[in-house]
Structures are given as C-alpha cells and as structure tokens.
C-alpha cells in the first residue's frame, strides 16, 4: 500500500508539473496570448525619399533600411518605385536598398515600407564586438584640446561605461573652450557624436553611431542618434546629448555608422521623411501570421494546426474534462447524487444546442412525462424491455409534439431539440426509470435533481469562452486536471452532505 501511495504521489507530481511546464512554456517562451481578445501593436513604417533628378544622368539612390535580425518580426516589407531597379545589399552590418534608373527627370518619390511587430520576435542576434581601434590623428590645437579633455575624464572614470558617460557630459558642456574648439561652432548631435568619437578613439574605446527610429505614431520623424560601445561583454547605449544610458524599448535601429541615411547620385535636394503608424491586431491571428512568415513551428503543433472544422469540434470536446471535473467535485466533495458520471456531462453538452434555460424546462418536462408514463405502465405489469420501449417511443412523440406546438406558437427555440439532445434525453429517462425501480421514486427524484444541477453547472462552466480558449490553446492544463483527479481518487474526507447525514453522531447521549 505504501509503495502504491508513493507511486501515486509521483504520478500526480509528474502530471501537474508536466502540465504546468507545457503551459508555462507556451505562455512565457512562445508568448501565446492568455486571452483570446489580447491584441498586439503592429507598426508600419514608411520612409519616403524625395529628390530632383538631374536630367540626362543615371540616377542611383541608396537608402539604409533596418537590419532584420532585431527583436521584431517583419510581417511585410515593400519597395515602391516607378521605373527603378531595386536591389538590397549588406554593408558593414547594415542593409541598404539601391534604387537605380538610367534616366529620370523632375521630382522623384521612392517609398520603402516595413510592417513589423514585437511579439514572437526571436532573440536579437548580437553583432560582434568591434576590434580595438587606432587613435584618430589630429593636428596641433585640436590635439591639445583633446588631451586637455581626456586627462580629467580619465581621472573621473573607472571603466569604459563611466568613461563614456563622462565624455558625453563634458562634450555637452559648450562653455568649455576645448569643447568649443573641437565642435567648431556646430553643436548638432551629429557633430557632438563626432567629437565624442574622436575623444574616445584617443582612449582606444570603440564607438559606433546608431541611428534609430521611435516606434510611435508620428509623421516627419527625424532619426534619433545614439552611441553604442562594447565593454567586452555587451553593447552599451548612450544618448549623445543627455548622456542617458540604455536605449528605450521602443527604438528601432535603422542603421549604424557614420554614413548618411541617403546617398544620391544623379539627383539633388534629396530628403527622407518617415511616417510611422500603428494598428492593433488580434494577437492570435498575428501569431498565425508570423508562423506563416517565419519557419518557427510556433502554433504548428498545437490544436490550431487542425482544419477549422475539426477545431470547432475539439473546442467542444476539450471542455468535457472540465465538465467531468465538476461532476467529480459535486459527487465526491459535495455529495450530490447524479445519474452516473457521464450522463450529466452529456446533458450539459445537449444544453449547448437548446440553451440552458430552455434545456432545463425541456428536460424537466419530458422526463416528468416519461416517468409518469412509466409509473402508469407499472400497473399493467409489463416486462421490462417492452415497457422501456414504450417509454422511449413516447418520449419521441412528446418531443415531436413540443416541437410542433412551439413552432405553431412561434417559439423557434424548441425546434432546436435535435437528434443529439433527444438521444441523451431518452437515455436519461431509461436510466432514471431503472433507478426508480431499484431505489424508489424519492431517490430517483433526488438523483434527477442532482443530475440537473450538475449538468447546469458543468454547462455553464464549459461554455465560458475565456476558459474554452484557454484550455484549447493550452491543452497542458488537462494534465493538471488529471493530477487533481488522481488526488481525488484517494480523497478520504467527508462529503458535505455526509456532515448533515451523520449530524446525529456529533450530539451526545
């Protein structure tokens, strides 16, 4: 007995932890939404390139576009241009699109559109740390100014991180003469970044310029400049003006390096304007889209991989264990008597088709009529099988009559008593009459009432849409249910109704 108990405990543990593990994996690793109506942001980024083409000269416009190895999933990417050839190539870890045309004239507009979403993105692939660098050579006064800045910075810093912060702080102090000299009177972020780069190169600290786009609905957004450096372990991001460390979540890296966003040959007055829009999309639909877009088998092996019709059937079927659980709790913990274990669940399923209120009315009416016929037939001393056959035939007639009457009265609902509920009803009446014969009318009334309560409860629970979605999406919870049921199999405590039944035993005397 002891070994069986340990066995059982281990089994429960395995079931519960396996179920939780699978569900947890789906929720936290695959990031499948917990609620059906959960939505995700979808960002659509438009970059519009305008320029005036120089007549008679081949046109070549090169625009940086975001690398795809980020923590976003690209849903769609398109290049829109008339009469231009398009090619995308890699350049120093960046991606660049090249539009080219033999000849063009007048104002030209080229579009680049990227649609992406954050959820379901893979971990971004870290780019390799840059190699150690040589100091950028400077002449006379600038070298002196740089040295004058670097020495106190070095004294006020402990490592690469603090060195960079300190440098950014000093470069943004425009009252400093040395800084003014190096900036050459142009305090733009880009120029500041150049000076910071210059100073850091003297300290042999690598630095990269990162041009980012904020993911928020806006038009005419300018790319925001960030600096990043590698401390040997990871990339550190800094804002070149505020010195703020760490890049906010909503920044999308567009390109890195010193090169300008747009390079134009055979054209002039080139401008790039960004328009960013966001829309919401059902997270689950999105998940399916990303599964199609990427090779990851995110939902491939879930029930969503089934054909749609099969999915609908399974959405009903997978809730049956929940209904059974209700019956188990009602019977073994509360102590309500029901007609067998599965019958209440079947009635609950039948309620799906008739609606619960109507279902209860029909169930009560038909069962009462069927049973009263049965007790009448008892006087005739008929044998069991013929008597049951009569009852069942009568039930079919009752159902037909009810359907007919309610149709004439304009209540269409009763017509919904289709084949499935009818079979269940007749079966219930058969079983109830057997109970009546074995245990008497009072008992069978109690059982019928218990069955009705159990069926209603499990129907209500089985049709909660959130629960259906959850169990259907995370079938692992069924294993947790099995664990609970296993534990219930060894439950030895009293049932709630037994506390009433044995109440006399608590009184003394």
């Amino acid at each position: 007995m002891q070994s069986i108990n340990t066995h059982l405990k281990i089994l429960i543990f395995i079931m519960v932890s396996l179920g939780l593990l699978v569900t947890g994996y789906q929720i936290w690793v695959l990031e499948i939404p917990i609620r059906e109506d959960e939505t995700d942001d979808i960002w659509s980024l438009d970059a519009k390139v305008d320029f005036r083409a120089t007549p008679g000269v081949p046109v070549k416009a090169q625009l940086f576009i975001p690398p795809l190895n980020q923590e976003y999933v690209t849903l769609n990417e398109s290049f829109i241009s008339n009469n231009y050839g398009v090619s995308v190539n890699q350049l120093n870890g960046n991606r660049r699109v090249t539009w080219s045309a033999r000849r063009a004239s007048g104002t030209q507009s080229l579009y680049y559109r990227l649609v992406l979403t954050k959820r379901y993105g893979a971990e971004p692939i870290e780019s390799r740390p840059p190699a150690a660098r040589q100091p950028i050579a400077l002449d006379g006064p600038e070298q002196v100014a740089a040295d004058a800045l670097i020495n106190p910075i070095r004294q006020h810093s402990a490592d690469i991180e603090t060195f960079i912060s300190e440098t950014i702080r000093r470069v943004n102090d425009i009252t400093d003469d040395n800084v003014r000299l190096l900036l050459d009177g142009q305090p733009t972020p880009l120029n500041k970044a150049r000076v910071i780069d210059l100073l850091l190169s003297n300290a042999r600290i690598p630095l990269e310029l990162v041009h980012t786009i904020r993911l928020e609905p806006s038009t005419n957004q300018e790319p925001e400049l960030w600096l990043r450096s590698h401390n040997g372990e990871r990339w550190l991001y800094f804002h070149p003006e505020t010195g703020q460390q760490g890049i906010p979540d909503n920044r999308l890296v567009w390109w890195t390096g010193n090169l300008p966003l747009l390079q134009l040959e055979g054209g002039r007055a080139g401008t790039v304007s960004f328009t960013i829009n966001n829309s919401e999309m059902n997270a689950l639909r999105l998940a399916k889209m990303t599964t199609e877009a990427s090779p990851s088998a995110l939902l491939e092996y879930s029930l969503y991989g089934l054909p749609l019709q099969a999915q609908q059937v399974y959405q009903v079927m997978i809730m049956i264990p929940i209904g059974v659980l209700v019956i188990l709790v009602l019977r073994n913990l509360i102590g309500i008597q029901t007609l067998g274990t599965f019958t209440p669940v079947l009635i609950a399923l039948a309620f799906r088709e008739t609606q619960v209120g109507w279902g209860i009315v029909l169930f009560t009416l038909i069962t009462a009529l069927g049973l009263s016929l049965r007790s009448y037939l008892e006087h005739l001393k008929l044998q069991m099988l013929p008597r049951l056959s009569i009852v069942l035939t009568f039930v079919v007639i009752i159902i037909a009559v009810i359907s007919l009457f309610s149709h004439k009265l304009g209540i269409e609902r009763a017509l919904s008593v289709s084949l499935f509920p009818m079979v269940i009803l007749t079966m219930t009446i058969e079983r109830l009459s057997i109970t009546w014969e074995e245990r008497g009318g009072g008992h069978s009334f109690k059982v019928a009432l218990g069955t009705l309560i159990a069926a209603t409860l499990s129907h209500l629970l089985m049709t909660i849409p959130e629960l259906t979605y959850f169990v259907f999406t995370f079938p692992g919870v069924l294993l947790v249910l099995v664990g609970f049921m296993l534990a219930m199999g060894r439950y030895r405590g009293y049932r709630l109704t037994e506390l009433m039944r044995f109440k006399a035993l608590t009184k003394q005397g």
């Binding site: 007995m1 073994n332 102590g335 001393k381 044998q383 069991m384 099988l385 057997i434 014969e437 074995e438 245990r439 008497g440 008992h443 199999g489 060894r490 439950y491 030895r492 405590g493 009293y494 049932r495 709630l496 037994e498 506390l499 039944r501 044995f502 109440k503 006399a504 035993l505 608590t506 009184k507 003394q508 005397g509």
Partner: protein
Amino acid sequence: MLFWKTWKALSEAGVMGINRRNADYVLKYNKRHLYPVVDDKILTKERAIAAQINVPDLYGIIDTEKDIGKFTQLVENHKDFVIKPAQGAGGDGILVIGDRYEGRYRTVSGKIISLEEIEHHISNILSGLYSLGGHRDRVLIEYRVKPDPIFKSISYEGVPDIRIIVLLGYPVMAMLRLPTRQSNGKANLHQGAIGVGVDLTTGITLKGTWLNNKISKHPDTANEVAGVQLPDWDGFMRLATSCYELSGLGYIGVDLVLDERKGPLILELNARPGLNIQIANDAGLTHRCHAVERHVAELKKAGRTETVEERMAFSQQHFGKPVFLSADEAPVEEPPVEPDTPAPDA
C-alpha cells in the same frame, strides 16, 4: 465555521464517510472479480452450503421461461416459501407466500394470488425487472424464515434481520434492522426501516436510527428498542465471521436472520455495506477498522492467522460498547446518564 466543527467532531468520533469506505476498504479489500459471489444470491447460497454455513433451504432454481412450468412441482411439498430474484437489490421483487388457499396462494400480508400471477412475477424476474442494470436474472425459491417471537414487540410485520460488518474476518459492528409500516415490512433502512445497534460482546440491543436520526422507540409499536437480548448471539457472530472465508471479500456486510426453529441463518452478503450502522450504534467505524487492521498487521508479522473462534473473541473483546480497548469485563452497564442530572451516586 459550522461545517468545520461538524467535520472535526465526526472525524474525532471516527465516523467513516463514503469516500473513506470506498478508498480504504471496499476498493482495497474487495476484489472486483469476487463480486458475483455476493451479487448473485444463488452463488452465495451454493458457497455457503459447501462451507456448511447455515442458510435457508433452497427449494429450487428457475432460470428459463420454459422452466416456469416446473414451479408447482418445486413447491409441492412446502406450504410456505419465498420467491426471490437472484440479483435483486433492496429487497425488491421478493414474494413471500405464507399459506395455500383453495388452490391459490396467500402472501404473508394476506393477499390471495393465483398461480398465473406468480408465474407472471417469475417471468418478470427472469427478464431482469428487479436485477441491477436490467440483466437477465434467475429465480430462487427457498425456505420462508419465521422470525423468532422475540422480535414481536419491536417489529412491524416482515422479518427483522441483523447486519454485521466484517472486516478481514473480524466483525466490527452490528445492527438489527426492524421493518416499519413505512418500509412496508421490508428491513431496508433506505425505505424507512429502523436500525438498532447491537453490542458485539453481549448481543444486547442499543438505541436506534430512523431516517438518519437517533431514536429509542419503535415508531409503530412504541416499545423501547434498547436492552433486548438477541438469542444465540455467538451463533450470529460465528456465522458472520466465517463469511470471510466463504466470500474472500475483506469488507462485507453480512445479513442474517433468526429463524424460530433453525436459529441464525445467512440471508445475503453485501460488498458495499451502508454507513448508517454508525448512527444506530452511535459509534464510528474508522477506529474499529483501524484496530482490526493493526491486529492483522501484527499477526502477519508474527506469521500466523487466526481461526474463526479467535477472530470472534478478538472482536467481542474489543468492540463492545463503550469502545474502550481495555474493557475486559462485560460492559453491561446502564446507558449513559443524562448529562444535566447532578447524580452524585445513581
């Protein structure tokens, strides 16, 4: 909370609930494949006869429609007899014939019925009208038990029977079931019969239960049910104890009757005995069952088994009322004094 208080009180009193009965006793000690022995009264009877255990005499078995014609032949030499479905439950379908009257039959309740009616009844039994789940059944015709007159004062019609719960061959609790007007003369607690606890040591009745309440008087005869000495109590105990070997089931309810001529007889066995016996005895089953299980475990360690007599003695020594394991002397005491009487000395 109210429920919690009741729960604790019950659990302290060792009252057994259905869940515990099923998990710890029925499922643990009763092998499924042995159920037919107790579900089919004919099988039970055959086993009992083979083991020389007293049962009502078997007059005949009818198992096909064709054999219904043999009925008159089977009961030819008997003035009174009982017709029973072999797999009936709750006493349904039992026809008790007490006498003959002008070629017809008279039931014990005085109703005159014809041979055709009896044959129709037999046919109903065969078609499974009274069997669990409506399976085809067999008909048993046997000796009619005449209850000992001792029960006259505390019983209404019918035959009172005695239910003894036997765990691993050790009787743990006993109850006398008395038919009432409400139960239509049937000794079935669900149908309104009363259950009266019986002291295992002496065979003297205790107070009773009726519809889950404690009672002390029979509702129909208004006579006190407590304090009646059941005759040949050791005979009852011996029969019940030996049912363990007979059935092989570890947790059974044995139903016995007392015939005025033949003494204690076994009527039937039950593999899922009800729990109301606890109310009748005003005592819980759990502690007694644990005591038996401990005792059996000790015996197993010592590598020996006990005979029917030894097991009977163990039970009678330990499960008298009150349930003190030390009570060696016969606990023939006054029932507990009302708590609010000061009573320095009775």
